[in-house]
């Protein structure tokens, strides 16, 4: 590796060294308590899949370049130079971690491996060694934000083709627009994903609740966060913030996408609008009796997979269970505590990497498949696109014998 590239990468590393991350890097005692908390290690017990081992890949570079111990006595802490081998190690560590933060709940020090992996991802981005597909997807999102006027009409035409299906789920007055856009002063700006499945059920529910809502022109997913590029994450997030401010909406509601919700909720800073997940909004509609659901329309045992970024990492745990209580009498939880639920194995950009990550995703999530099978459920419901895709893949791979459904689509199908 050339010296000026190394300097550039170390500068990127140094830029991530906040108080908290520096403490994470200083504190680990390598006790290994975290090891068995990781779904990857539990499914494929290899030393490199311990969260502490992943963090150690970054920590060894930290010791080498940012600690006295690494400068004077590198062998003591196995400090390692930043070279091409280190980049390979960083790639293996970062993209075998889904950023679920389950290990953090078991660590006696509360070390956040996802944050340490964000350093690994940033170094890879700076070295142009990140998974190309993730950067391309992030760039597409950004360019869409820059040229929104060019694609607006095409988007609106596409929505018109979906209107029939929305009305089929919930009839509204003929003069009303089933999927409104560009509504100034709307109470809710709904940010969906690029796909009818993310728009139709939610539109029907908004209409059933007589909501004053408007659909965003942008998709919620933040590929910048997946690839670990803070600049791109910000640009993708800003498209939504700018749209919300332009329309002067009261609330931004993020569709079933864990990363999109957590990024906007926790990284956007103080805004004039409230930020909610679609699950929170649906629970609110039921509580306020703005929508009514037909109970037990879906037969068999129903279980719910808590998406890590929505539940453990953003606190939405009671709302989905409240909704499900209105959908069925036959619910069983996957784990005793939602915060200890196993990750689906598709986070951190792995699902977006498609077939490239398929083999690893399947093998590293055996523990998840076993957890689902143990419930004997016939419907596995979740509230995150990423989790849905991964769980559907697992369903086929491990013959789990469940139907994987979105919570919002079950709500829409049960509207009365």
């Amino acid at each position: 590796m050339e010296e000026n590239l190394r300097e550039k990468l170390l500068k990127a590393f140094e830029g991530k060294l906040t108080k908290t991350i520096a403490m994470y890097l200083e504190t680990c005692s390598r006790c290994g308590i975290c090891t068995t908390s990781c779904h990857v290690f539990n499914s494929m017990p290899r030393p490199e899949y311990s969260p502490a081992a992943r963090a150690e890949v970054v920590r060894r570079l930290y010791k080498k370049y940012f600690k006295l111990q690494g400068k004077f006595w590198p062998s003591l802490g196995e400090a390692k130079p930043l070279d091409d081998t280190a980049l390979d190690d960083l790639d293996r560590a970062a993209y075998s971690c889904t950023g679920c933060r389950r290990c953090m709940t078991f660590c006696p020090f509360g070390i956040d491996t996802q944050q340490i992996m964000s350093i690994a991802k940033l170094i890879l981005v700076a070295a142009h060694a990140e998974p190309e597909i993730l950067s391309m997807l992030a760039d597409v999102s950004i360019s869409k934000g820059e040229s929104i006027d060019l694609i607006k009409q095409g988007f609106i035409d596409g929505l018109e083709r979906l209107e029939g299906e929305v009305v089929e789920k919930w009839k509204i007055d003929a003069e009303k627009i089933p999927i409104p856009t560009e509504v100034q002063e709307a109470d809710i700006l709904y940010v969906a994903l690029a796909g009818a499945h993310s728009i139709i059920p939610s539109a029907a529910i908004f209409n059933a609740a007589c909501e004053n809502w408007t659909l965003s022109f942008f998709e919620a997913v933040n590929f910048g966060a997946f690839v670990g590029d803070p600049g791109k994450t910000r640009l993708i997030m800003d498209r939504i913030i700018n749209e919300a401010n332009r329309l002067n909406v009261k609330e931004v509601c993020i569709c079933e996408c864990g990363t999109a919700f957590r990024v906007l909720k926790q990284m956007s800073g103080k805004q004039s609008f409230k930020i909610s997940s679609i699950t929170e909004v649906h629970a609110r509609y039921i509580r306020e009796k703005r929508i009514k659901l037909e109970k037990n329309r879906f037969k068999g045992i129903i279980t719910y997979h808590d998406p890590c970024q929505i539940a453990r990492n953003a606190g939405i745990m009671d709302e989905p269970r409240y909704i499900i209580k209105h959908l069925t009498d036959n619910f069983t939880d996957l784990s005793k505590k939602p915060e200890e639920n196993w990750c689906c194995g598709g986070g951190g950009g792995l699902v977006a990497m498609g077939q490239d990550s398929h083999d690893f995703r399947m093998k590293s999530s055996k523990v998840k498949a076993d957890q689902v099978k143990a419930t004997h459920a016939s419907i596995l419901v979740t509230a995150c696109e990423n989790c849905h895709s991964q769980l559907s893949d697992l369903n086929k791979y491990y013959k789990m014998g469940v139907e994987v459904k979105f919570l919002s689509s079950m709500v829409a199908d049960s509207l009365i």
């Binding site: 908290t20 908390s37 311990s50």
Partner: protein
């Protein structure tokens, strides 16, 4: 030999303590100088008051209890013993009535605290050889454990000799004279260097010196950072 004893018992102690204090303060200052992270890093569900739960996480380690109860037992025994030994060493400088709530000779536990610490350290050392921990371990982990083990074996031996075998040559008064003189920067090692037992004390102090010298530059800084990190996790 007298010169070597003097170097270890006086200048090396001052040097080690100076490096320890300056090093720890420097490490804390270096962290405080760094920018703050702007995003919340807590996990849910949040329990209030967060600071109380963070203290419980730090001192009771409920997550470890759940995941590895045997390790939790030794961790609690180890840290509680360290706490008692710190009190014991403070009493070697001066007796404080507050520590005599439970009436005792200097060093609570009649030597058993050192023994439990020794057994805990053996557990920590041997578990490093089991496959999962061995793969994670770096030389620093063994180095620190061996340093502590040597310090504790020699320190315990000094205490056992005094309390178990009626060995009266090096008394609490002798240690108090030495430690007080060190504190007043008028070092006097005469009361602790005339005995045939002196070499034990010298080795005990030597390994303890090495340990505190290395403290600020090692993972031992977890002693400082665990409370703030647990608070961050609790929100």
């Amino acid at each position: 030999m007298d010169t070597l004893n003097y170097i270890i018992l006086v200048p090396m102690v001052y040097f080690s303590f100076a490096v320890f204090v300056a090093g720890v303060l420097y490490r804390i200052a270096a962290i405080l100088k760094k920018p703050s992270i702007t995003i919340p890093l807590n996990v849910y569900p949040q329990k209030k008051p967060a600071w109380l739960h963070a203290l419980a996480d730090t001192f009771l380690m409920p997550a470890v209890f759940k995941a590895k109860p045997v390790m939790w037992f030794f961790l609690i025994v180890f840290h509680a013993s360290i706490f008692l030994l710190i009190i014991g060493h403070i009493e070697l400088i001066h007796s404080f009535s507050i520590f005599q709530i439970i009436e005792h000779d200097i060093f609570l536990g009649r030597g058993f605290v050192g023994l439990t610490l020794f057994i805990s350290l053996l557990y920590f050392l041997f578990r490093r050889f089991s496959s999962n921990a061995r793969n994670l371990s770096v030389p620093e982990d063994y180095f620190l454990l061996i340093l502590l083990l040597l310090t504790i074996i020699l320190g315990s031996e000094l205490d056992w000799a005094r309390t178990w075998f009626g060995y009266q040559e090096m008394t609490v008064d002798g240690y108090q004279t030495y430690l007080k003189s060190m504190l007043l920067f008028k070092p006097d090692i005469s009361d602790v260097t005339y005995s045939g037992h002196t070499f034990m004390l010298v080795f005990h102090v030597f390994f303890a010196n090495l340990f505190i010298l290395f403290f600020p530059f090692s993972k031992m800084m977890h002693a400082i950072f665990t409370i703030p990190l647990n608070k961050i996790r609790r929100g």
